[in-house]
Subunit: 190 residues, 2 copies
């Protein structure tokens, strides 16, 4: 410990995930290099392969960690607010998050391998299903799920299109998130 560079790092796995997340947020996914990462941390360039057989495995781990953080933030929305208010809060959070962490969002949703996995409990879908169910009481389950799904889709799509500047084309520049969210949640009847 007192040595400048002990042979064993201590927790190289966690350090790699953390450093990778930082680097990705700063430089984008495609600019991440395992060798550079190792050099930043101060280990040999082959050391990361002890913990992640493949670069993709590291990316998956970063995506999983980021997904958890994100989910925790969703879950912090008070559940005793009126359903439509909760929907708008969640929607605003989604837009804000994508704008604040575009590279992380790209990573999370590029992680095709984890998509059909059991991480379903962390999917935004479940959150939206709960809110939509409260907002349209008496509706049948299929209708609720489908509505939640399309709300999430609209939020997701709008965030991505806005990120790449594709919304600022036809005079939409001065549109507020608020108006967009109202339009989206028109899909929720009542």
């Amino acid at each position: 410990m007192t040595d400048k560079r002990p042979f064993h790092h201590g927790d190289l796995r966690a350090a790699l995930i953390s450093a990778a997340a930082t680097a990705i947020e700063r430089d984008g996914i495609e600019n991440l290099s395992l060798r550079g990462l190792a050099q930043d941390i101060g280990v040999a360039r082959s050391a990361p392969y002890r913990h992640f057989p493949t670069k993709q495995d590291l990316l998956d781990a970063v995506a999983a960690a980021s997904r958890q953080d994100c989910h925790a933030a969703y879950a912090a929305i008070p559940s005793d607010l009126p359903p439509r208010v909760r929907l708008k809060r969640a929607g605003q959070f989604y837009l804000d998050y994508v704008r604040a962490h575009p590279n992380m969002v790209e990573l999370i949703f590029a992680d095709h391998a984890a998509a059909p996995g059991q991480a379903a409990s962390e999917s935004p879908l479940l959150l939206f299903i709960d809110m939509v169910r409260d907002a349209m009481p008496g509706a049948e389950d299929g209708e609720i799920v489908r509505t939640a799904m399309t709300c999430w889709s609209a939020l997701h799509g709008f965030s991505l299109l806005a990120l790449s500047g594709r919304t600022a084309r036809a005079g939409l520049v001065d549109d507020t998130d608020d108006a967009v969210l109202d339009t989206i949640f028109r899909m929720v009847p009542g």
Copy 2:
């Protein structure tokens, strides 16, 4: 011409774009290699750089070509159909296209450079604006544009989420495109 391999290829630029498009559809964007492309075509590995200073420039050109093809298909929807029918046709086309050409869609929307460019005339937004305008006569322009924007967003988001398997989680597996499109176009009042 009669020679097996003439010194000048003839139209290497077009050949590169075409071969790149094929390779991307088959193997994905990140597996495209300029060297491999050159070898497939039968030129030296440095030849492509005469036409595209950078790999990204090739990708941009492929994206532009693909965008044009896609736009032509949209424009083929008969304009004398009732607006809601046209909306549904366009929506179904969008879903089909993304499912049929996932890698191309990824390329088109990863092309951040071209997004704010003057290619706006080929944006799906304009198509949707026309249809939505017909569907909600008398509405003010801002409202029309915003509604078209959110419809496109929902289609876009749903396609991407469906592609990565994120919609087949909460019993949505047996949902039909038709029901999803109906839900989305609830955003269009009337």
